[in-house]
């Protein structure tokens, strides 16, 4: 695993094994497990996924049919809607839906469909309708299983690469599920707030600490909430980077954040407290970013690297932001110019530097 982490930092891994490496990076498998152990676990997970899929198919026969909906199937009061009859050959909700969880889920299925048809459509992979349907299936099933988060736009951007990289739909689901373990809080929304605002708050703290002048300037422009950075954090820079560059950025970030105990902490959350022992020989097994926290003994919830990557992006535009931005619109404009002009490795390297600076300054205060 250490070798893999180094390889990623040197330039990425071959596309043919990317999916499998991601499963490790995201804590899907124990780095010390044998091939045989992993096979057993993989089969077990596939069975589990297909059981869930069957459960969902019972409720909505379109799941797994290779087709999906973009038109609403039920009204908000649970009454069946004819609107969708144009597209879904034969299947219609016949009686009013009264179960709250089921209704919430059915209401969002068309939203997922609307986003699926516009997810990475420039890729030939998604010209194929059955691949679009796989994306719809996975997102729908995830949504059914996670009613507290539900479906929020942007999750499609996170899920799409998994389906391309992992051939088996169940494997793609689990890879997505693991990625969402890190990201899901961003997608938790209420009527008055969005989860991602927690990370925006951290970003604000970071900039305030490492570049007080820029922070003050943004605050003067009424941008102290950093709402303009929402997209970067929610879809992990998918819109700022090309498809392939974003994948490389993700794996760099995950490699730097790698924690060998991730798998165990997901599988046996009750043992979470037992991983804090500090064996210096083990430190090599951690990613560069994570290592700093382990060293300093801070094993609690901490900032994610993504926040520092956004900070590094802001820093590259520091001069223009200070000089040219006279309103929030200018900020958005200046940051908009970065699309396609970022280097993943450089951004991560800068992010680590900012992280170091932040820890130093924060400790001094």
């Amino acid at each position: 695993m250490e070798r893999v982490l180094r390889r990623i930092q040197r330039g990425g891994i071959h596309p043919s094994i990317k999916g499998e490496v991601w499963e490790f990076l995201l804590g899907g498998y124990d780095p010390d497990s044998t091939f045989e152990e992993r096979n057993i676990l993989r089969n077990h997970r596939r069975e589990q996924y297909y059981a869930w899929k069957e459960e969902c198919r019972q409720m909505v026969p379109l799941i797994g049919s290779g087709k999906f909906v973009t038109m609403a199937v039920v009204a908000e009061d649970g009454q069946p809607l004819e609107e969708s009859s144009v597209e879904n050959q034969g299947w219609l909700v016949k009686t009013a839906i009264t179960d709250k969880r089921l209704l919430q889920w059915m209401l969002v299925l068309s939203q997922i469909g609307l986003d699926v048809v516009r997810t990475d459509r420039y890729l030939s992979f998604y010209e194929n309708e059955s691949n679009q349907a796989r994306l719809w299936d996975i997102l729908s099933i995830y949504t059914w299983l996670n009613p507290d988060i539900g479906y929020v736009q942007g999750m499609n951007d996170i899920c799409s690469p998994m389906i391309i990289l992992l051939e088996d739909e169940a494997d793609a689901f689990w890879c997505f599920e693991r990625a969402m373990r890190r990201l899901r809080e961003n997608f938790r929304t209420t009527a008055t707030s969005m989860g991602v605002q927690t990370q925006l708050g951290m970003l604000s703290q970071v900039i305030k600490t490492v570049d007080p002048r820029l922070h003050q300037h943004l605050e003067d422009l009424d941008g102290g909430e950093y709402l303009f950075a929402i997209r970067m954090l929610m879809v992990l820079f998918r819109r700022e980077f090309s498809f392939l560059d974003a994948l490389y950025l993700w794996e760099l970030m995950w490699a730097m954040e790698y924690n060998p105990n991730l798998f165990a902490s997901y599988e046996k959350p009750e043992n979470r407290g037992n991983f804090s022992e500090q064996d210096p020989r083990l430190l090599k097994k951690y990613g560069k970013f994570e290592r700093k926290y382990v060293k300093s003994g801070q094993n609690e919830q901490h900032n994610t690297l993504a926040v520092f990557v956004v900070a590094s992006v802001l820093e590259t535009k520091n001069k223009r932001l200070l000089k040219e931005a006279k309103g929030l619109d200018d900020v958005v404009q200046i940051l908009g110019d970065i699309a396609g002009n970022l280097d993943a490795r450089k951004a991560c390297k800068e992010a680590l530097k900012i992280h170091e600076k932040f820890l130093k300054k924060a400790n001094r205060q």
Binding site: E83, D115, Q153, D329
Partner: protein
């Protein structure tokens, strides 16, 4: 043609585009601002914006148009951008009646978060898809009438009415501003209390109606 007083005079209007997911908000905006249509456009996460200028009475009027995510879950964040908007386009998709039924909710949302909009327009987009139309022109028209909105059907795909719709909103804001300007001095106070500033910049003689650039 314009005399010295007017030279360099510039107006900046903030406009928001709201409405359900996938009704074509982003493509309406890129059609207007850049004359482009992207069939592979993605869902908007949070907010994006573009500016476009036009000339009215020899004055340059700049519209700063904010495009918002359609999914309800984003409203906590997108509604922050309604503040100070003087114009709004509420968009539905003529092929999906649910997007039309939600128009009332978007109007409520707008009224709750912004009391500065002077020009609102209801837009039935995708009128190129006549064969699968689900909302009639009459339905759109009558809703607009009862809510006091301008109304137009557009197609971002084939450009029908897009420019006309945006310019109508911008003209309405402009004429509203000039009328009020002529009518009362107290309007300036009223505007600033609504966070819409009417600032006379001495150096450039720039007039700005906006909340977002102070």
């Amino acid at each position: 043609m314009s005399d010295d007083d007017e030279r360099g005079e510039e107006y900046l209007f903030k406009i928001v585009i709201i409405g359900d997911s996938a009704v074509g908000k982003s493509n309406l905006l890129t059609r207007y601002a850049r004359n482009e249509f992207n069939p592979n456009s993605k869902a908007t996460i949070g907010v994006e914006f573009q500016t476009q200028s036009m000339v009215i009475d020899g004055k340059e009027v700049k519209a700063q148009i904010w495009d918002t995510a359609g999914q309800e879950r984003f409203r906590a964040v997108t509604s922050a951008y309604y503040r100070g908007a003087v114009g709004a386009l509420v968009v539905y998709d003529i092929t999906r009646s649910s997007t039309f039924e939600n128009v009332g909710r978007w109007l409520d949302e707008l009224n709750t978060h912004s009391d500065t909009t002077v020009a609102k327009m209801l837009i039935g987009n995708k009128c190129d898809l006549e064969s699968i139309r689900a909302v009639s022109v009459e339905e759109g028209k009558s809703l607009a009438e009862s809510e006091g909105l301008f109304f137009m059907e557009t197609s971002a795909l084939d450009s029908t009415n897009v420019k006309t719709a945006f310019e109508m909103v911008i003209r309405e804001i402009y004429s509203n501003m000039s009328r009020k300007q002529l009518n009362s001095d107290s309007y300036k106070e009223e505007l600033s209390s609504n966070r819409v500033s009417l600032v006379k910049n001495d150096n450039e003689g720039t007039k700005t109606f906006s909340c977002c650039s102070r």
